[in-house]
Symmetry: C2
Subunit: 201 residues, 2 copies
């Protein structure tokens, strides 16, 4: 904005909101106007919701999940299968698997993947903690639910090597056709993997 | 979410953010994770930015603009042309015109338009205040920059009637081809208006 239209407080809020994923300067401005126009219903509750999160949010010291309790609700849930640890790159992956109800076990958030380009080695990730958890009695399987990228697969191979010698089975997610997906739109690698892993009908 | 993945504080923030225009439940969840992961750079500044806005934001008692001062920066700017009042429906329209630098005059925010369906009459809008402002000496022109909708045009006609007898010229925005727009994609009404209002080249 060449001319100053609004006070610096409003402008500051617009600029902060525009840094959120999915919001640009234009939508941030609309969001701020919407907040101000719905003060009692949105702006005031948002202020206290953010305060609540700041006060309570923490990282689970066991699995790396983000929650308001440590250990997190998943790690402290007695109904969870403690013999199974699902390894993911980010908390968002954990939440996605959890929304799907895809596993009844525990999780381990790596905090990223190894990357030669970005200079991220195994020490930057929580791999030592993972090995430590897997060495405890009772852990039988580790699912490497990392992304199917080069860095993700490199990290998966590294972890597999580190787990060698421990009494755990290491598995990875199946490749195949997404449920509801159309063959037409899939890449050749996925199609080849789907045919190779075909099942009897 | 069928199972409770995160604490109620985080869930509450996700739900509030998903009510903002442009954000759904999915992007709100991504935004909250992004905020938590960038605590010092985003979450803490956002908390104080929202507090600042709550403390300072106000509605200009002259024109209805949202700002942190009353009268707002525009109304209190001595370089503004006080003989010209540009009437808009919403604060977002004011900000859009102001970003474009389209007028050097003052504004008047109606707070909506008259609508038979939604039961909004002239008393729900700041039309009386507008007539009062226009009756003051020095005001020469009123630009009715309302939307080209049925309700917008009804409101414009109503305001024009109310201004009859006062010594002000009432104008409206020109219809025509948007700058950079392609004729192919324009509706017939716009094309007819653009031809009717053609200028010598």
């Amino acid at each position: 904005m060449s001319r100053r239209i609004v006070g610096p407080e409003i402008e500051g809020l617009i600029q902060l909101l525009s840094k959120l994923p999915g919001l640009g300067p234009r939508s941030a401005r609309r969001a701020v106007l919407h907040l101000i126009k719905n003060r009692a219903r949105l702006l005031d509750p948002l202020a206290s919701a953010i305060e609540d999160v700041r006060r309570t949010v923490t990282v689970c010291s066991v699995c790396g999940n983000i929650d308001t309790a440590d250990p997190c609700v998943i790690c402290s849930d007695p109904r969870r299968d403690r013999s199974l640890i699902c390894v993911v790159e980010e908390v968002s992956d954990l939440w996605a698997l959890e929304r799907a109800g895809a596993t009844t076990g525990l999780y381990h958030v790596l905090g990223g993947v190894m990357s030669a380009i970005e200079g991220i080695g195994p020490d930057e990730l929580s791999i030592d903690q993972l090995i430590h958890r897997c060495a405890e009695p009772g852990v039988k399987e580790v699912i490497l639910a990392v992304n199917a990228t080069v860095d993700g697969q490199t990290t998966a191979y590294y972890i597999t090597e580190r787990l060698r010698g421990l009494d755990v089975t290491v598995t990875r997610l199946a490749h195949g056709v997404p449920v509801g997906g159309e063959l037409d739109y899939l890449d050749e690698g996925t199609l080849t993997a789907a045919v190779k892993s075909r099942r009897t009908f």
